[in-house]
């Protein structure tokens, strides 16, 4: 006898809550994604490959992925540090700092995009400073890198913060009584405990950055082969009513999203098995 699909329960509202959930998720998420996949299926793997396998598309996909990876890596280090500072230290301005970490979540991407551009353009405050030493940020890959750091900033810090709060001081004290230096304790006791959460945050930041559009297009300059990101390529194809090409690139990006979602889930399964929490 197999497990029943749904356990009978005297809790009310099964039909209603299941109905709303499945109807809305189908209408809003699954059917539209299905439409994209269907378009891809009608196009065939060969057709998709033909569209994707062009220098300009490869350049855009590679650029998006490479810079997203670099930005997420930066956020991995900075986020863990930020979480540590916010949880462990008491100093004036901590609350403001804590709230500021969430600003990239709350600030619309288009707003972030134009204001980062204004700051880092050669005539902007920070851009002028940088160009003094011959460093051009806006309208180069550096600009994209800065924008992707901005949008991914909260992920690592926010996933790691609760884990640091949960670390028992006794574990650190035990390490100290065994003769370990503080640095040794941090490296061999604390960081390994934070690793799964930090990796989850990293993957979330990466997924967000790969798909990011609004905050990047203003600062990127959008020069084909150099600073043109993959989502922009979809928009360009759509504006030319080139739906097949847009769908092909869209499917490539969707597959990257699925792969990263899978990676996030695997990290969580792995960490649960290893440490007992995420």
């Amino acid at each position: 006898m197999g497990r029943p699909l749904i356990h009978r329960s005297p809790m009310p509202g099964l039909g209603l809550s299941m109905g709303i959930t499945l109807t809305m998720i189908s209408l809003v998420v699954l059917l539209p994604i299905g439409a994209l996949l269907l378009k891809g299926a009608s196009y065939g793997p060969a057709g998709i490959w033909e569209t994707v396998n062009r220098e300009r598309v490869w350049a855009a996909l590679f650029l998006s992925f490479r810079l997203s990876f670099l930005a997420a890596t930066f956020n991995l280090v900075f986020g863990v540090m930020l979480a540590w500072v916010l949880v462990r230290y008491r100093f004036p301005g901590r609350r403001i700092l804590d709230a500021a970490v969430d600003l990239p979540f709350a600030l619309p991407t288009a707003v972030a995009g134009i204001s980062l551009t204004a700051l880092y353009a050669p005539n902007g405050v920070l851009g002028a400073l940088a160009s003094g030493i011959g460093w051009k940020i806006a309208y180069t890959q550096w600009g994209i890198f800065v924008a992707l750091i901005f949008v991914g900033l909260p992920f690592v810090a926010r996933t790691v913060q609760p884990v640091i709060e949960e670390i028992e001081r006794e574990v650190e004290e035990a390490s100290a009584t065994l003769g370990a230096s503080r640095l040794h304790t941090v490296r061999h006791v604390i960081l390994p405990m934070l690793a799964p959460a930090a990796l989850t945050g990293f993957a979330l930041a990466l997924a967000r950055a790969v798909g990011e559009y609004g905050s990047v297009i203003f600062i990127a300059g959008n020069i084909p082969l150099k600073t043109e990101i993959a989502p922009l390529l979809i928009i360009i194809q759509l504006e030319e009513f080139n739906y097949d090409a847009a769908a092909a690139i869209g499917i490539a990006m969707l597959l990257i999203s699925f792969a990263m979602l899978l990676a996030i889930n695997l990290i969580q399964v792995w960490s649960r098995r290893r440490i007992g929490y995420v």
Partner: protein
């Protein structure tokens, strides 16, 4: 001889040396200043570059006014719909035992890892004039893409997980006992929901709605794709910012941006207040 009154230098075993501590705090301030505070200030500085009057005047233009109204309307429709979904999904997932629950949760989270542009593309392919469904709807006078319903769908797609994600952990932690108690006391399902469940999840619900609303009003990528950005018709605040910016109307663009930035600040303020006052009833501050 040592002076008995001088304090013994004691270094806590679980703290970093003061130098390291202040270095880390300094780095945190410096990093957030360059990455977060500076752009935020820049929005207001650029908006007020020609004075308050110029900024207000650009906001009073018909196009800006229409964009603000449209954005508010979109949020007023999509956020409550997503709240209803979030409550229903959280109820279904936490009050019943069924196969495939983990898969369903993954599906709900899916929109967070899909690029907004791809989300918009999906909706265009599903409901665009040259798709099967969209063609039929357009033929009957109900265009979805390049019209309000498309923008609402796109907004709902990108904000889909917010409320459910916040409610599910809270409701798992609260368990089913209070609802069961209400039922044994003779309460109907609706009564149980309104008098027992809702009061227990109200702060978490508000928290989720707040985040959902911030994202709904600010969504750019997905809306760009489906709206067609027709001025005075389907241009929302974020897409209006883009158009004004590309026409080198810097003050006008940043003035609209400043309104959205103020909204973001208000969201953060309310969010922080909720986190301080109702930490025990939120998932975000109460993990594990």
């Amino acid at each position: 001889m040592s002076d008995a009154s001088s304090p013994v230098p004691f270094h806590s075993a679980t703290e970093e040396a003061p130098v390291a501590r202040w270095l880390l705090i300094g780095l945190a301030f410096a990093g957030l200043s360059i990455l977060v505070f500076a752009p935020l200030i820049a929005v207001f500085v650029e908006a007020l570059a020609d004075g308050v009057a110029a900024s207000l005047k650009s906001l009073a233009s018909p196009d800006a006014g229409h964009a603000i109204r449209l954005t508010l309307t979109i949020a007023a429709i999509s956020v409550p719909l997503n709240a209803v979904f979030g409550i229903a999904a959280a109820w279904f997932i936490t009050k019943f035992d069924f196969r495939g629950k983990a898969f369903l949760i993954t599906l709900i989270d899916l929109p967070f890892s899909v690029s907004p542009v791809v989300a918009g593309l999906c909706i265009v392919l599903m409901f665009g004039a040259n798709s099967l469904v969209g063609g039929w709807l357009v033929g009957h006078g109900y265009p979805i893409v390049f019209a309000m319903p498309g923008i609402i769908l796109a907004t709902m797609f990108v904000t889909f997980p917010f409320v459910a994600r916040e409610l599910i952990p809270v409701m798992i932690e609260q368990g089913r006992a209070e609802e069961e108690a209400a039922l044994t006391l003779g309460a109907s399902g609706w009564r149980t929901f309104w008098t027992v469940t809702l009061p227990n999840i109200r702060w978490a619900l508000l928290y989720g709605v707040l985040l959902c609303n911030a994202r709904a009003m600010g969504e750019f990528g997905a809306v760009s794709v489906v709206s067609g950005k027709i001025r005075g018709h389907t241009a929302t605040m974020p897409t209006t910012i883009e158009m004004l910016y590309q026409e080198y109307l810097s003050v006008a663009a940043f003035s609209v941006a400043a309104v959205l930035a103020l909204l973001a600040l208000l969201t953060l303020l309310l969010k922080t207040a909720l986190e301080i006052r109702h930490a025990d009833q939120l998932a975000a501050t109460h993990r594990h």
